[in-house]
């Protein structure tokens, strides 16, 4: 299936905007396409999953812990917030799942089915595909003074 990079980038931007508006209650201020993702620091989380069909790709996000905590604070009640550290990974996984699904829905014709793997996450560690020699599309987003990265590795 032949898909133009320009269409991939515009679908990614659309999905990122929609999901951050609906699930983070905020707007993305800037998008910049950069060549490589930065290393994931100990104060950030990486979340990722595989898009299994019909486009073969790995999709990932790097999000600062501070940003995730702010979202958890506005979403959870006090009793749930006691476990906020357990919820950070859950939140970035949910963002990966929702953005990747919405991205594929935007990119493909409506009758075309697609599959996603279950998401993974780690604090302070990049997923292996960030370092593979393959075609990568990396977007740097500015959201409320935080930098968030979206990394798509194509096969």
């Amino acid at each position: 299936m032949e898909i133009k990079e320009q269409d991939i980038v515009s679908s990614l931007k659309k999905s990122l905007s929609e999901v951050f508006e609906n699930m983070a209650f905020t707007e993305i201020e800037t998008f910049d396409q950069i060549s490589t993702p930065p290393p994931v620091t100990s104060r950030s989380f990486a979340g990722w999953l595989s898009i299994e069909a019909p486009l073969k790709a790995d999709f990932g996000l790097i999000i600062p812990e501070r940003f995730l905590f702010n979202i958890l604070q506005s979403t959870l009640d006090e009793s749930q917030l006691k476990d906020w550290q357990k919820m950070e990974g859950d939140l970035i996984s949910e963002y990966c799942n929702t953005i990747a699904g919405d991205f594929m829905k935007n990119l493909l014709p409506p009758d075309k089915d697609f599959d996603l793997s279950l998401p993974n996450y780690k604090r302070g560690e990049s997923p292996a595909y960030f370092y593979e020699k393959r075609e990568m599309i990396t977007l740097a987003l500015t959201v409320e003074s935080d930098k968030i990265y979206c990394v798509l590795g194509l096969e």
Binding site: E94, G101, L116
Partner: protein
């Protein structure tokens, strides 16, 4: 009338989002029960009288589609409406789930006005059928 609603999702934060949607939609006196996958949901369905299931699709152990099939195959459970919430939102997949008797399929990111309106209208319809008002 929906008294007990079961939310099924492997993500605790996604379950919280759905709980929040139910609260915003006015379901404040409804008991909400949670399960992390289809297996846990079936265990709960065996012991509690659930009036509505809201389930994610993509989950470990037993996914939402298998849960839907098992609920609809069971003579004891098949009256329970099942709403599927998914990030795998192609129209082909949605049609398949509806053909398997999902009450509705909502795609993530959830639109609060859309799902809220749907739940309210079906809650009213359900109360009318139950009490003949």
């Amino acid at each position: 009338m929906w008294n007990n609603i079961l939310i099924v999702d492997d993500s605790a934060i996604a379950r919280s989002f759905i709980r929040r949607i139910l609260e915003i939609s006015g379901f404040l006196n409804v008991k909400v029960v949670e399960a992390a996958n289809g297996n846990q949901a079936l265990e709960i369905l065996k012991t509690l009288e659930i009036d509505l299931v809201l389930t994610d699709l993509n989950m470990p152990e037993m996914d939402g589609e298998e849960l839907l099939k098992r609920v609809k195959r069971s003579p004891k459970l098949n009256h329970i409406p099942v709403i599927v919430i998914t990030s795998l939102g192609s129209s082909a997949r949605q049609q398949k789930l509806v053909s398997e008797h999902a009450m509705a399929v909502f795609t993530k990111p959830l639109s609060l006005p859309e799902i809220s309106q749907f739940l309210k209208s079906h809650f009213d319809e359900n109360a009318e059928n139950k009490y003949g008002n």
